[in-house]
């Protein structure tokens, strides 16, 4: 999708609520954009997974088949498949159009906290509270994972993939990065249980949110601390952290019902977005627009920058 106007010199932050999706799925455990940001997935605690067009606010499809809460989902690059993981310890691969479960991968011993496709949607990487990360093959019919990354000493709370890396955040306080290209594992000790990790868009940094209410930006290669962002409250829940589309700000959900954004470089609090009363359960940032998806208390809201005109913007 093309940008309607040239990228602004200064990154804008989403400050304006433009859509609100009443999901009707119980608590929304996760809200995720698809690869291009036109659609989103919401994972409900009522075992369903819903596909929305968040920009129009229309629900497109409901996917039923999980045996318990759906905790995370991700869409494939071509929007043809969805993977999801739930508290039923299963990782499911869905066909988007038919709404059927194509495959179910069982092997985790605990809740599956996070799932990710690799770039070509040939592998699903799932992290579970059983402290393993499992790489499932989507191409073959083998029921067991390609590889189990069991280096973590505690549950995996977050998994992210880049082209050749697997980034995991674990409750044992470590951010591990498995580099397939160089064949090494870098384990960065943070100390506090990690709730969420993500790569920066340029792939050079790693953002890690931990339960000491701190976000840390680490250099991916050396593990050095590039920035530290505090001000929010994250002591109990597995909350998401994001970087905005230009890597200029980092954002994190908070237990006080806000979403906080900090300037990446200066570490100063740039925005505190009051979203709701309850805990902000999940965050997703649009891959290319200053557009934020926030899940809280059973509803998902879409936030855009101030200058956004709901009619004129394609979405």
């Amino acid at each position: 999708m093309a940008f309607p106007r040239p990228r602004p010199a200064r990154a804008e932050l989403p400050r304006q609520r433009v859509q609100s999706l009443q999901c009707g799925q119980g608590a929304v455990r996760a809200a995720r954009f698809n690869a291009d940001g036109n659609y989103c997935l919401t994972c409900g605690s009522d075992k369903t997974l819903k596909l929305w067009n968040p920009h129009k606010g229309t629900a497109l499809r409901t996917y039923q088949g999980h045996g318990y809460e759906v905790l995370d989902a991700a869409g494939s690059f071509d929007n043809s498949q969805i993977c999801s993981g739930g508290a039923d310890k299963a990782v499911a691969l869905w066909d988007v159009t038919t709404g059927q479960v194509v495959r179910k991968y069982r092997g985790h011993a605990g809740k599956v906290n996070c799932v990710q496709f690799n770039q070509e949607a040939t592998v699903i990487v799932s992290g579970s509270i059983d402290s393993t990360v499992r790489c499932w093959d989507c191409r073959s019919r083998r029921p067991d994972p390609i590889q189990v990354l069991d280096e973590a000493k505690d549950g995996i709370s977050s998994v992210k993939l880049s082209a050749h890396e697997i980034l995991t955040g674990s409750v044992d306080g470590r951010v591990r990065r498995y580099d397939l290209r160089t064949g090494q594992l870098c384990s960065d000790y943070i100390g506090s249980p990690i709730t969420s990790v993500c790569f920066s868009k340029d792939g050079q940094c790693v953002l890690a949110a931990s339960l000491d209410s701190t976000l840390r930006l680490l250099d991916k290669d050396t593990g050095e601390l590039l920035g530290e962002y505090t001000g929010h409250r994250s002591t109990t829940y597995r909350l998401d952290c994001v970087l905005n589309e230009q890597d200029t700000h980092v954002g994190c959900a908070s237990e006080d019902g806000h979403v906080y954004f900090w300037d990446l470089l200066e570490g100063s609090l740039a925005l505190s977005l009051p979203v709701g009363q309850g805990v902000v359960q999940s965050l997703a940032f649009h891959p290319s627009l200053p557009c934020l998806l926030v899940a809280t208390q059973g509803q998902v809201t879409l936030w855009r920058e101030d200058t956004f005109q709901p009619e004129g913007d394609p979405g």
């Binding site: 690799n118 770039q119 070509e120 040939t122 592998v123 790489c135 093959d137 191409r139 390609i146 590889q147 189990v148 990354l149 069991d150 280096e151 000493k153 082209a163 050749h164 306080g173 470590r174 498995y178 580099d179 397939l180 290209r181 160089t182 064949g183 090494q184 594992l185 870098c186 384990s187 960065d188 000790y189 943070i190 100390g191 340029d202 050079q204 840390r216 680490l218 250099d219 290669d221 050396t222 593990g223 050095e224 601390l225 590039l226 920035g227 530290e228 470089l265």
Partner: protein
Amino acid sequence: AAVESGDSEEEDLVSYGSALQPLQEGERIKKPVPLQEQTVKDAKGRYQRFHGAFTGGFSAGYFNTVGTKEGWTPSAFVSSRQKRADRTILGPEDFMDEEDLSEFGIAPKDITTTDDFASKAKDRIKEKARQIAGVVAPIPGTTAFDDLIGPSKITIGVELLRKMGWKEGQGIGPRVKRKPCRQKPDPTVKIYGCALPPGLSEASEDEEDEYQPENVTFAPKDVMPIDLTPKENVHGLGYKGLDPSQALFGVAGREHLNLFTGGSEETSNLIGDLRHSKGRKLGITGQAFGVGALEEEDDDIYATDTLSKYDTVLKDEEPGDGLYGWTAPKQYKSKKRPEREFKYIGKVLAGFSLASKPSAPVKIYPPPSLPRNYRPVHYFRPVIVAGNENCHLQKALEESTGKLESDPTHQSRHALTAAQRREQLGEAELKGSPAPSILEYLSEKDRERLKEVKQASEKQMKAKVVSQQPRNSRFQSASPEDATHKWQMQLEAQLVNAGSSDFKPFAKNPEKQKRYENFVKSLKQGEKDALERFLDPTMTAWERGREHEEFFRAAIFYRSSNSTLSSRFTRAKYEDDVDKVEVPRDQENDIDDKETAVKMKMFGKLTRDNFEWHPDKLLCKRFNVRDPYPDSSVVGLPKVKRDKYSVFNFLTVTEPTTSVTQATSEKIQESNSLNKPKKSSRWDVSDKEQEKKDSISEFISLARSKADVQQQPAVPATEECGTVTTETLPTVVTDEDKNQEEESGRPPMDLFKAIFVSSSDEKSSSSEEESDEEQQPTTSERASETTKQVDVPDRSSSNIQGKSVTATTDAGNSSLPTSKQELDVPEEFGPKLPPAFSSGRFCKHLDRKEKHRKIRERHKTKKEHKHKKEKKKKHKKQKNKGKHKNKKPEKDSSSDTTDSSDSLSDMDTTGLSPKELLRR
């Protein structure tokens, strides 16, 4: 006149009946109904029949019949399959009309009081008979149950009587006064008795009074009813069929039923079935069933009532029983049982006689009396192998125990060896037979050496005990020493076979290896303090002790493969793995210092662990990534085998792994820097940090164990604590060693690493060294290979400092190219050493405060660094290039100065490095 007469006639006529109604015009006269068509119908309009099956004659004809012209209507077949259960038995009423059941029918039904509810008095005689029948019924007690369950059957008369005080079994009439009499066990058996003699009625007729209390007036006796139960079966008289309660439940069931019946035991006794009292549990017992396989006695199969049970002579005995010769068997059995064995000979089976006195009690056999000097403890005598050299010892032992006579010539034949026996027998020695001892296979020289070693070790053992005492006293932390010396002694004992020189545990450190070989040699020759001589005189006592330990461990570990027989046998290709466990080679080291680092926000090298990690091939394929280890079959983290029960696993858990990890990370950094050259400048910084980290951790450990500090008042050590043993060539100590260790991925060497590797940081000049090789495409291969536990790491190409790097020798792999100058293995074992810096650059007594200050400084620089980082991303390439340039000259410098030069080089890129700060 006629008219008149006519009228008069009419008046004269007498008319009978009523006149028919005058016919109306045109009306036809009805025909009378013929007889066969005249029917009688009942009140409901149904045809009434006049005669039927129950009223005399049965006509099933067409008229007056039940059904149709055809008579009985055949009923259609209806399957009763589904309602088989509720099929009812038809009674006569089913074939009757309801008229028959009406008041005037043939079977009038009206509400009447049944017998059970009739208010007439109960037939007492019948009742009594019923009770008696219940007692002797096949299932005893059924009537008792009836009485319990059906109280409504008691008629009003009985009820009234009861209310008046009457009880069942009593007679009716005024109460009479009688003196209390003995209770008779059972009244019901009276039915079998003969008529009582009149004079004895007093004694015998109160049997019915069992319910009556004593010393009160008594109700008159009831008239004894006669058992009117008819004999309905064809059994013999008195035959009692199988009693299900006894057959199925044995005694227990019987006792249960006794609650209700009470008299059944007497009944059975009467019949003579005594077996129940035996307490048999289960089984079919009864008359006429013969003797089962499980029954021991077969004397009384059919319970015949023989004459021997009766008295044949009238005597005056038993005046107390009041029977005077009345010898009903039941009474004898029930009442006289205890005395019977002594008095009543006649009751015994024919052919037997009762013993005049009770049998003697079971004899108790006392245990055998013990000898006076017996002690209930068994002492195991040492087992002496009857060999030539042991003969005297054995004899001595035997004499001491007094077991053998001390005649030396008169040996027990068991003490003879085959050779001795052969001599005694005068036989010739077998030719070509296998040599009796494995020693025969040894060369003369080897045998002598063995003997030497044996003697030496014995001597040493003795000496060791003495010599350790003063040694320990030198150290304040003597406890580990104690422990180690204890097993040192054991090791020395085992060192008999140890010590051929074809293995080099310290191959990397030629000096040390030399010392080790000398040590082993001297050990074999029994020189206990040999090590003291060979140890580096510049070393501190603490270091010497450490090295001593180390050598012992090494000697023990390689004992098996270095036996003198090693030339005769092929070595096992691999070590025995039974007692090894697979552990990840690299482990995330302890988080203590990491915690500290995190608290100080010193992320980076301090908090990072780098491991070699092997992705699955398929995963690489799926990710479109070339397999970084195409030759490796390992998936995940490489694992090594460690001694499962190794002392080292317990003694130093964290340190060896730390060092290994660091070494690994270094290696990975090398490869990293090769793959991504732009990063190398950071590595340098990281190296500094790593060093710093080590010093920090050591300070932490220092704070933890003050004792160590005191132990080392002045350690002229190199900057690397692990190289304490190598003062002789301090400059040679480089990270090369660690890399070397790293490469020796084979299990034994890993074990060695676990033992000897220094926990401290090595500082890696290697990254710089590698960096200048980054253009070579092979280096990355090499790096990966070496981390992959390739058997023979060839590092010579990368050896900057001109040291030829040799493969570390495995115990079982002497074929490895072991070149001479091996690198020092810096040992770090036990408590962490305080940081020792050669040339006094760093005061090792730096206290914590100072350390923190430095850390703070470092942190400051870190912050600057952070800001730079953003820009750095864009300029990495250039920076790296600059760095590499900086590094090139460094490789010429000795390793001792490498770090400083590194830090210098860092300074121009990243400002003042914390390491540098620490240095100053």
